[in-house]
Symmetry: C2
């Protein structure tokens, strides 16, 4: 098996620009962290994980960088109830299953060919721009 396991000793290259957003050093570090640890971290998690490699980084910068990437459609922001926002580089249409026993969040997709709008009774004339769904429970 020769799949590319992420090697912490080798930094993943991030381009200088993604979707029209200039990828500054801070944004590169944040984005790299997100794609290497796909565990839906909070802004604070991101900050704690990279601050040692980027000495003067401030938490406010992490917030603004994440926000810029969300606005440019590079990552997604996910909210569970009123907890802190979490961030996710998976851009495919998907929702989340929150395992209450472990706290682990699993991405969940629709079965092929299914769209949420097709199985719902929407108000007449509804134009859907965005869909979010979350399940809570546990695994047996």
């Amino acid at each position: 098996m020769v799949s590319k396991a992420p090697n912490p000793a080798v930094e993943l290259e991030i381009p200088d620009e993604i979707s029209g957003l200039r990828m500054t050093r801070q944004r590169q570090h944040i984005y790299r962290m997100l794609i290497q640890h796909r565990d839906h971290p909070t802004a604070n998690d991101v900050f704690m994980r990279i601050k040692d490699t980027l000495p003067n980084l401030s938490l406010a910068t992490v917030y603004t960088c994440l926000d810029a990437m969300v606005k440019h459609g590079i990552i997604r922001q996910v909210n569970f109830d009123r907890g802190p926002s979490r961030f996710c580089p998976n851009l495919a249409e998907h929702g989340h299953f929150h395992d209450d026993a472990t706290g682990i969040i699993h991405d969940v997709t629709f079965r092929p060919g299914i769209h949420l709008e097709d199985v719902l009774d929407l108000p007449p004339g509804a134009i859907v721009k965005n869909v979010e769904f979350t399940l809570r429970g546990h695994l047996v």
Copy 2:
């Protein structure tokens, strides 16, 4: 004609207890407000609407009453992104369509016989306890 049409001049009676929760005067007022204006108000909205009829009411009480009713399954708490929580007396399984143009929130149900779990690829062994879904868009 003996049916009890809701008459705004006559206060809707709320029982002394619902699902094992003692319905104090504050809880009765809050619950009555929720079923009479089913527009998904925030805790603060609830407070503003009833404080004149319940002079010493405090916002903290509105929060704890709403929380008690949520815990007892009398009402539901609904979150949109990171906005303030909203409250809803509709206990049937449903989600919400948020009209970005007007800010109005419409309840959305599944088409008959459909359950979200049936159209999703869930992680193996997932036991779903709770489902939330939200759509954003507008009406034409």
